[in-house]
């Protein structure tokens, strides 16, 4: 029997604020997994801590909810242990672009075949409204009462330059489009980033659904070529360059590069979980004789 989107549901109620962008995001993820006919038991969703961190609880696959900022290393470890699994890491702008930003930088160089969905709402939600690394300049938050004076982190540009092989941005207000981006990311062989504008209706009064709807446009409809790195960089800076009049979403950049775990001859035939536990050390001992 083919998998349907309902199979990915759980009985528990999703505990996010009414109107939260995460509802659309999780819907898009479940839709993508169903469209790709993924088996529930062969998917692992890994999260950190924050509103995004609750995601594994709301999708009926395997899940691991770890520490704030650390979903990427846990996901990397899972993928290396068993590369048959579809591994999806979910973080937030605080969790992934601030606390755990070093893991983001290095996982791109390695190109593990995992998908990283970042719930980017330009604010700290669960800790009740502090500035994050993607909060726009001038925004007033609990920790920037006089307006934010730090320039925002640019995850798309960082990913293109950092070695990510699939770099996309979606908007939780357009679930159909977002679902296609997530599907592409899961199907892509290598590290894929989908940065997702996901309005925080409670704490971010600047970047609202309406704010995005007035500004976003789809790269697919703008004749953008995702194989063109130079063009991708330009698009990655278009939001700032246009003073946020033009905010592109869609697939910015894509390239083919062999994933980390596929370059290791010792797991070419058998992934680690399938290996015999016992190892003959006779030769190893001889080295010390």
């Amino acid at each position: 029997m083919a998998v349907t989107i309902n199979d990915f549901n759980v009985k528990e109620k999703m505990q996010w604020c009414p109107g939260c962008g995460n509802f659309g995001l999780i819907g898009a993820l479940k839709g993508a997994l169903a469209d790709l006919e993924k088996n529930l038991h062969e998917v692992v969703i890994v999260s950190g801590i924050g509103c995004s961190g609750k995601s594994p609880h709301y999708v009926n696959t395997y899940g691991f909810e770890g520490l704030h900022g650390r979903p990427v290393p846990v996901a990397s470890g899972i993928k290396m242990a068993n590369r048959r699994l579809t591994v999806i890491a979910e973080g937030g702008d605080g969790d992934g672009y601030q606390e755990g930003v070093q893991h983001f930088i290095h996982v791109m160089r390695r190109n593990h075949d995992i998908t990283y969905l970042v719930h980017d709402n330009q604010i700290y939600g669960l800790t009740t409204g502090q500035a994050s690394s993607t909060t726009l300049m001038g925004t007033r938050t609990k920790t920037t009462p006089f307006g934010n004076i730090e320039i925002p982190f640019n995850p798309i540009l960082t990913a293109i330059d950092g070695g990510a092989t699939y770099v996309a941005r979606g908007f939780a207000g357009d679930v159909v489009h977002l679902k296609e981006l997530i599907k592409g990311a899961i199907q892509h062989k290598g590290f894929s980033l989908v940065d997702i504008f996901q309005p925080c209706v409670t704490f971010n009064k600047v970047n609202t659904y309406d704010w995005f709807r007035e500004r976003v446009y789809k790269l697919e409809e703008a004749n953008h070529n995702p194989a063109d790195k130079k063009a991708a960089r330009e698009k990655a800076e278009e939001d700032i360059a246009s003073d946020y009049n033009m905010v592109p979403v869609g697939l910015f950049y894509k390239e083919e590069r062999v994933p980390y775990e596929e370059q290791l001859p010792q797991v070419k035939d058998k992934t680690l979980v399938d290996k015999e536990l016992d190892v003959d050390l006779k030769k190893a001992y001889e080295e010390f004789l």
């Binding site: 529930l40 609880h57 899972i78 010792q266 290996k275």
Partner: protein, 598 residues
């Protein structure tokens, strides 16, 4: 028969390689050997020293005496001349001006024309260490042929020419000493049996692999790094994945992820790196994901003295992570325990689904030890389910089911009907976040109750020496090594001393100190300044030692220091200071030779 070489040179001059090859000449003659390196936290400049001790009976401790000194530079003569045995020999390069140094009467001082000998034998400057080892062997009349077998194995990859030139050079050094001096010791191989010669870290790595470890991720930090190096070099032979990560946080989280996915996985670090891992210790604790951490201690706090030894991270390991959760701490006392406990750490970690810390230190991790070999390993993975009945739609597997023994069966991703979330949040039986007060209590009690099964498995501390003793030495971890040698010496001097050694440090029960409570007088030995394990024994077992002997200079105890202090306790009629601190006889630092005008 006991004999001690020292090799001294400038940092970066290859002392470690020379020491290890020299040691191998004797393990191939079935001798017990200890190789103990000392070096400052510098890549170039500073002084390096290496002790190679050999014996036909057990040998376990560095000492401050030397029979044959290989002085590879001028500083080495300065640093080590005063520890020479009066009938010993100093071998040094003819280019060195040694005239300024006052050498003890009786010591043979022999200058080697290294440059000329190398030229004559057709070797290059890179081969000087082979020449020096050849010379050192002649000083004790040990057959050069054994060294030739070592060189052959060492350089065979580089081709016959390199092998033959090294052998020619080694022979040149050997012959020169034979012709120009009388040997100061006369040592022959005991038998043709070869012992293994390896570091504590290599034994840890081998024990882990033998126990089925398939994934290892770590960030380099002295003195743990050589576990990572060894495993990286052999990852293809062992068919495992070994990965250097961007930091220690990533290292432990990758290993936790791999454990969750169903493979045995571990990490290694030292104190500073472990500080970064502590939050993840709690993650493993609450999510009940196994993890093994090889924690090699060095001299702290903070950067401290990075290349020297200490046992001061025990309390830190015991209390690492916020909140209450069970962990196990084991501390191998020697190279065989390093192998066995590394293997056993995975069994405990998987059976009880808890973090296990294997605590070593620079002394055990980086010293090289002889052994007759390692035992087979029994792998026990605990409760894991591979097949599950179908659940109603949208229902989760009860990963955290309340059980009698506190252990709930694990299921790995990829298994049908096992979907669940392993989590750092408090949770209900399915893993769904829960703040129910009764569920919170149940889950805390469940996790804590694992200790009951665990305690039944934790062995008694081992007693060495006879049951009848005036003084019982109490040790943990690597202090077993100098203490054992001190015990033998004290016994030879007619003192009735025995020893109780702890390799399993936590958890503890009252009965673990039964022998200690019956002992006449006890002396606790620790390589730290606050007697951390003594404090833990007092807290958990209600026992405290009569005397505490502490050393925290960066060096392990030397056997003779223990003998001296125990003698004093005897002489004082078991009265006197309760806390005794020890300072090395050789108080010359290696980091700043310029301090001595060198």
């Amino acid at each position: 028969m006991k004999l001690t070489f020292r090799i001294g040179a400038q940092a970066g001059a290859g002392v470690m390689v020379t020491g290890r090859m020299l040691g191998k000449c004797f393990t191939r003659g079935n001798y017990n050997v200890l190789g103990y390196p000392e070096y400052p936290s510098l890549v170039r400049g500073g002084h390096n020293a290496y002790q190679v001790r050999i014996s036909d009976i057990g040998i376990t401790s560095p000492i401050s005496k030397c029979d044959v000194l290989l002085a590879l530079n001028r500083d080495a003569i300065f640093y080590h001349k005063d520890i020479m045995e009066e009938d010993g020999m100093i071998l040094y390069d003819k280019e060195i001006d040694a005239s300024a140094f006052e050498i003890k009467k009786g010591v043979t001082l022999l200058a080697l024309p290294i440059k000329e000998l190398l030229e004559k034998a057709g070797g290059s400057a890179l081969m000087a260490n082979a020449l020096e080892i050849g010379a050192a062997l002649a000083a004790i009349n040990y057959p050069i042929e054994i060294f030739e077998t070592v060189l052959r194995d060492e350089f065979s990859r580089k081709g016959d020419d390199v092998v033959n030139k090294n052998i020619a050079v080694a022979r040149a050094g050997y012959e020169y000493v034979k012709e120009n001096a009388k040997h100061v010791r006369d040592v022959k191989p005991i038998s043709e049996n070869k012992k293994m010669f390896l570091t504590g870290n290599e034994a840890i790595a081998l024990g882990a692999v033998k126990s089925g470890m398939k994934f290892f991720s770590a960030y380099p930090m002295t003195p743990a790094s050589s576990i990572l190096h060894y495993l990286c070099a052999h990852e293809r032979d062992f068919e495992i994945i070994v990965k250097q990560t961007e930091d220690e946080i990533s290292a432990i989280n990758e290993a936790i992820g791999a454990n969750f996915a169903g493979v045995r996985a571990a990490t290694c670090t030292s104190g500073g790196g472990f500080a970064l891992m502590t939050e993840s210790m709690g993650l493993a604790g609450l999510s009940e994901t196994p993890i093994v951490v090889f924690l090699a201690q060095r001299t702290g706090p903070s950067t401290g003295m990075p290349t020297w030894t200490e046992q001061a991270d025990l309390r830190f390991a015991l209390h690492s992570g916020q909140g209450d959760f069970l962990r196990v701490i084991v501390a191998p006392g020697d190279v065989n325990e390093a192998f066995e406990l590394a293997a056993e750490a995975f069994n405990i970690s998987e059976k009880y689904q808890i973090p296990v810390i294997l605590l070593s230190d620079k002394f055990l991790s980086e010293s090289v030890f002889s052994t007759d070999g390692f035992p087979e390993v029994k792998i026990e993975r605990g409760k894991i389910v591979h097949e599950l009945a179908q659940l109603p739609p949208n229902t989760r597997y009860e990963r955290y089911k309340i059980t009698d023994d506190g252990v709930s069966p694990r299921v790995f991703p990829g298994t049908h009907n096992g979907m669940h979330v392993a989590t750092s949040y408090e949770h209900d039986e399915t893993g769904f976040s829960s703040e129910s007060f009764s569920m919170r209590k149940k889950q805390v009690d469940k996790r804590a109750s694992k200790v009951n099964g665990l305690l039944k498995e934790i062995p008694e501390p081992k007693t060495y020496g006879g049951d009848e003793a005036d003084i019982t030495l109490v040790t943990w971890g690597s202090m077993k090594l100098p203490a054992i040698e001190a015990l033998n010496r004290l016994g030879n001097n007619g003192k009735k001393v025995n020893m109780v050694h702890f390799s399993y440090l936590f958890p503890l029960t009252m009965d673990k100190v039964k022998k200690l409570k019956e002992a006449k007088h006890t002396v606790m030995l620790e390589n730290n300044s606050t007697a951390q394990f003594a404090g833990i024994l007092k807290e958990y077992c209600g026992w405290k030692p009569d005397f505490i002997l502490l050393k925290y200079t960066g060096r392990p105890f030397y056997a003779e220091e223990i003998v001296e202090e125990v003698d004093k306790i005897y002489d004082a009629g078991f009265k006197g200071d309760k806390v005794i601190t020890v300072l090395d006889n050789e108080d010359l630092e290696y980091y700043n030779p310029q301090r001595y005008g060198l």
